[in-house]
Amino acid sequence: MQTLLRTPLHDRHAALGARLVPFAGWEMPVQYEGVIPEHRAVRLDAGVFDVSHMGELEVEGPRARELLQSLLSNDLDKIGPGEAQYTLLTNERGGIIDDLIVYELEPTRFLLIVNASNREADHGWLKEREIRGSEVSDRSNEYALLAVQGPKAFERLGLPVGKRAFTWEMAEIDGVEVMVNRTGYTGEEGCELLTMAEDAGELWDHVLARGVVPCGLGARDTLRLEVCYPLHGNDITPETDPISAGLGWTCALDKDFTGADVLRRITADGPERKLVAFVMEEKAVPRQGMPIAGPPGEVTSGSHSPMLDVGIGMGYVPAGASANDTELTIDVRGRPRRARIVAKPIYRREEHA
């Protein structure tokens, strides 16, 4: 049996009474008080997630930008130092090896924050394709990452409010040096704080002392699903392409990157199926893997929405039947349950808060 990895905050999670579960080879908190109160804390105030299991890869050198431009789908020339970008690592078939955020630290040095489950695959893929003048290194063990998310996140952390998303700056929080990344996975304002692994405990304690609510991966999943952020491994995989997944906006098809030719063809022909969001019209909780009937498809993510108090999900359906308001039937363990395709995101703060 493989031993589960632990983040530097493991003992603190246990002391808080978190329910710890295996996730991508790590033992991670799925909830503390409960998924629903934690979810609401992030929507209405601020919550903190230990996401130290995520991977940090660095690409450095005079040709680092050139290497990344050839391997990542988005146009890296659109950002400069102090900025960040959501982008995809694609294979030759146009499939999605991973989705990630790239941070420009310096014009010749980039940080990639990647999914825990893909860290080794990403690192291997990049390392094999290194060119002279670029060096790829896995720095994950040196860092811890805390996501502080919610409308009061910056206020509670004592950081400047109202700066542009997808930017980063260095700051100190109660004496701990952090890289403040104005990014996240909840659809709320907030940031991801990158710090040295040995400082993580102290930073966590300061963040909680500032009234931020500890939140587990359970709430992280329901929060991202309400705003239709795809989860790699569920909604997007090496077998699915970004055009069908609605991520065409992350693909600079006017440049060359791995699989770009395939993606240009899918764009020209139109995708056969599309990733849609849906809301249940009958009482039921959709789950990953459930078949969709009339039109045929499959649920790739499903849960209960704590804010809307209904079952919600995402799934692939034929492109010809992917319009908003199309009625779907979800096969819930043999029981047909009605759902309806809705515009993304499913939850909009201005409509529901």
Binding site: V30, Q31, G34, V35, I36, G218, T222, K283, A284, V285, R287, S303, H304, P306, D309, G311, R333, R335
Partner: protein
């Protein structure tokens, strides 16, 4: 809000974490404090239909939290007389009051002698301690 852990003495228990309150040839059924705590906040109860026959040891419904779904196992056999609409409409009631307002169904017993095979509160607590 979640209830405090308890296992009332007047109830009978099944190892699948269900309880029965037996009254003559009828019984009210629900899930134990342990079951609701393991699942977390319930967001859905899929009930049986009125008149349906349920079999001891077999699933008669499902309870779901945000993260998980679980069959509800019948501790006794019988015919469904009533489904607790409050549990179906507001499943969090089961977390708040698993032995009271959070009951799930009422049945007419078809095999009353099955009750002898259920655990009393002390035996169920001992069973939980072994888990």
């Amino acid at each position: 809000m979640a209830a405090e852990e308890s296992y009332p003495e007047e109830l009978k228990y099944h190892r699948e974490h269900d309880w029965a309150r037996i009254d003559g040839d009828e019984a009210v059924l629900g899930i134990t404090w342990f079951a609701q705590d393991s699942l977390g906040e319930l967001v859905h109860f899929e009930p049986p239909t009125d008149g349906q026959q349920i079999q001891r040891g077999a699933a008669y419904g499902e309870v779901e939290s945000v993260k998980a779904v679980s069959d509800v196992i019948a501790p006794l056999s019988g015919e469904v007389l009533e489904v607790n609409r409050k549990a179906a409409d507001e499943p969090e009631t089961v977390n708040a009051d698993p032995y009271g307002e959070g009951w799930l169904i009422r049945i007419r017993l078809s095999e009353p002698a099955e009750a002898d095979e259920l655990l009393d509160a002390g035996a169920y607590r001992a069973f939980l301690a072994e888990q």
